[in-house]
Assembly symmetry: C2
Homo-oligomer: 517 residues x 2
Amino acid sequence: MTDREVRRDVRARRAGAVARDIAPAARATAYRQMVNPYAPLRVFSDDQVEHIHQCALAILEDSGIRVLLPQARDYYSDAGALVDSEEFMVRIGRDIVARALASAPSVVRIAAGDPARNVVIGGRNVAVVPVSGPPNVSDRIRGKRAGTLADYEDFVRLSQHFDVIHILGPSVEPLDVAPNLRHLLTVQAQLTLSDKVPFVFSRGTPQVCDSFEMIRLARGLSEEQFRGGVHCYTNINTNSPRQLDVPMSQGIIDFAREGQLAVITPFTLAGAMAPITVAGALTLAHAEALAGITLAQLVRPGAPVVYGGFTSNVDMRSGSPAFGTPEYAKAAFGTGQLARHVGLPWRSSNATASNVADEQAAYESAMSLLGAFMGGCNVLIHGAGWLEGGLTASLEKFILDVEQLQMYAEMFQPLLASDEDLGLDAIAGTPPGGHFFSTPHTLARYRDAFYVPLVSDWRNYGQWVESGSLTAGERATEIWQRTLAQFTAPPRDAAATAAMEAFVHRRSAQGGAAPVS
Amino acid sequence: MTDREVRRDVRARRAGAVARDIAPAARATAYRQMVNPYAPLRVFSDDQVEHIHQCALAILEDSGIRVLLPQARDYYSDAGALVDSEEFMVRIGRDIVARALASAPSVVRIAAGDPARNVVIGGRNVAVVPVSGPPNVSDRIRGKRAGTLADYEDFVRLSQHFDVIHILGPSVEPLDVAPNLRHLLTVQAQLTLSDKVPFVFSRGTPQVCDSFEMIRLARGLSEEQFRGGVHCYTNINTNSPRQLDVPMSQGIIDFAREGQLAVITPFTLAGAMAPITVAGALTLAHAEALAGITLAQLVRPGAPVVYGGFTSNVDMRSGSPAFGTPEYAKAAFGTGQLARHVGLPWRSSNATASNVADEQAAYESAMSLLGAFMGGCNVLIHGAGWLEGGLTASLEKFILDVEQLQMYAEMFQPLLASDEDLGLDAIAGTPPGGHFFSTPHTLARYRDAFYVPLVSDWRNYGQWVESGSLTAGERATEIWQRTLAQFTAPPRDAAATAAMEAFVHRRSAQGGAAPVS
């Protein structure tokens, strides 16, 4: 028989089988702590990785990096780096970098509001962060528009709901909130609508201090307790090529000083702000990441950091950034090798350049996820909802991405292969041309044997047409609407929340804190 | 800066850069022979693989497989297998299987009409076959309908056009052609519209003999020359569990006798015609594949065979087959391990259960491709255009799949990392915060640095809206229409073609050959 004839045969035979009468129970999933069992894919030999590392060290030593914040230059200078106070160039000796890498922890444990939501970053663990930072939001009902606090809150709700999202992110920028109040209201939304690990923007020390205080109040932590553990994180982007600006340098210092996590991510587009080759862009990115990581360790040896990578290529016809390309995946594999070479957890991204949550968005995200997960990443930022090269947070894309994330989480589950799992008795006991629907081996397992999808529709064509011929994107609309409508915030300590909200009220009345740029 | 701010910054900076003035040249691609450089992903330990192999041998030895064709039973019996002539059960000793595996070639070379289209199957080589066998066809213009010869020919044209498709497939069933003539007209279409390797259905010896004769005539080969090389292939599905039917057994014999390639593929749906566990379904599939491969080797030691795997799971709520699931990917990784364990090339599939070429089709295909390519497959059947669990061949899905296939082909290209590739001079020579658009390193490479997509639209949102806000699926319609409109058949020997067509004419006048079932 051909595949197709077999397929038809299966349909015919199952009509008389027990499957039609059974319905699976709710499945226990293990999405809260994803552990990747696969050996990471590699694009470089070990020698090439070491050579790129040495080239990056030479770049930092010979050419240096421009650091715009005087205080940051002082840290480097005190450690023995050569600082040019006119050009702000900092040349960092490889011994300084080596000491920094020796003191940076290889595994970071972050405390959430609910201990069951605590996250381990490093090793084979994988943590997912949703879309982070677009100015726009879009969905199929309301179209594309500027982000608001209400949208931000909706993304916190969705991020809280799905177990496969482990850490909160700045989802969409609430442009309806004054810049000096945004940190207060976004951190408040995270601490009241979710018990997952919150994100804090690095937009200057005053905002960071406010945010830390809110977390201490909401979590009931003393300053010492806060400093003694990791309770939040920020993302630091270098200004490629070879520059650390004021808020980013300040963010590294603020977070290191308080022992909070900084994900340090050069954003290197091959052919634009980085060499046109993937290997060249990775060399530059590696140098920049090492410079930022070194600063954190100079501020506080042992400060938690994550080695971030965000390397893609531009479309050489238009200069537009492209994401989820083959080059992007190869860059991800290579970044993972470099991060492991220096013994640090690695952050990657789920990216696409598509302007709409369509088939392109799906396959570009699939390619990004392949690069990230099969490259062995520990933190995936922009994990759900990122669209249009990061200019839009999409609600449908969020749901479609959650489906792909859950599929990876399931693929990470071990494949059981004991003799009982192999079902040898069932095989011996089922006659040629028969079926396994009613064997004891099947009946003992059918309720939770397989992944139950969020969006995918596996019904036959006739049933699918009868139910309205909805595409996956259209079904995603129903899912985010239903999820938001049914959302209930997790329980929280009333007094602690009140104290945090009183702080927000007081600081708001004082005018908040302007972002530093 | 946040990722988003960096992103905006890139857009602003590139406005003044040279990129806007340059247009890439046509890129030389290496899609005609894909070679996979990545280490295959694994779900089993070596011990587990060996244990599953031993369990499969025990199944063949103790329980056996039912073989419906007397001639096939005779081959097994002559080799020492125990044959029950009432139940048609054949119990095959492990020594017989071991001898068969020792004689089966690990690499198969297939000759195409144009030697530049010859295909190597095995090792790290990857060959792609389009959708194979659905009764229906669909596209956005004409909707879903029964397949015709005209549709079949269109798929041959598309398969010929794209270099990332290496081998022809039975695409869609031409239901407007009488069953006794279908083999003649489909093989004729392949030999006149394409110079790639043709597919031959195993629907009984008379049809197979006709098809072989057509290939000999069109390629100008004597019977001896034909038998001395591999010039076509077929796909053999077992009737899981544990049964080989008449046309499939006959196909194995017919192809082995003439030295042509048989891809032997058990189709095992975990929870339906196979144990509900992936490991159990693979154990059964392995036993069935070994039975078929053994038959081929008993007919002619050294006969070219491919170890086929097509294991997925059913939806336990409805009994519907599911494809491109996490279980599907794990099954693919495991199948690859089993195929390598017995030293044979491995065939996998690009499958989805979606009823339409939408986001679900894209991400389920992405998961199938991950299982296949990152599991190390050598032949990918249903590579482009398979929809609705194999019941429909979709023209848009074909184009969207070609994009994903090309992305993998590019990802398989080595990542160059010489010192010149790293662009160390460009990095040293580009000031902090500058750009690389006009460095000599960029200018020497920009014309062909990156993959140029087939479907993906990387323009910004405004440009995309201005051009009609088309989704990737809608753009795919334009692409298949344009490709078909511009198609030119490859050159071929006029006399040989005339001889082949005369044969078709004569055999058609004689009534062709009825399929055997």
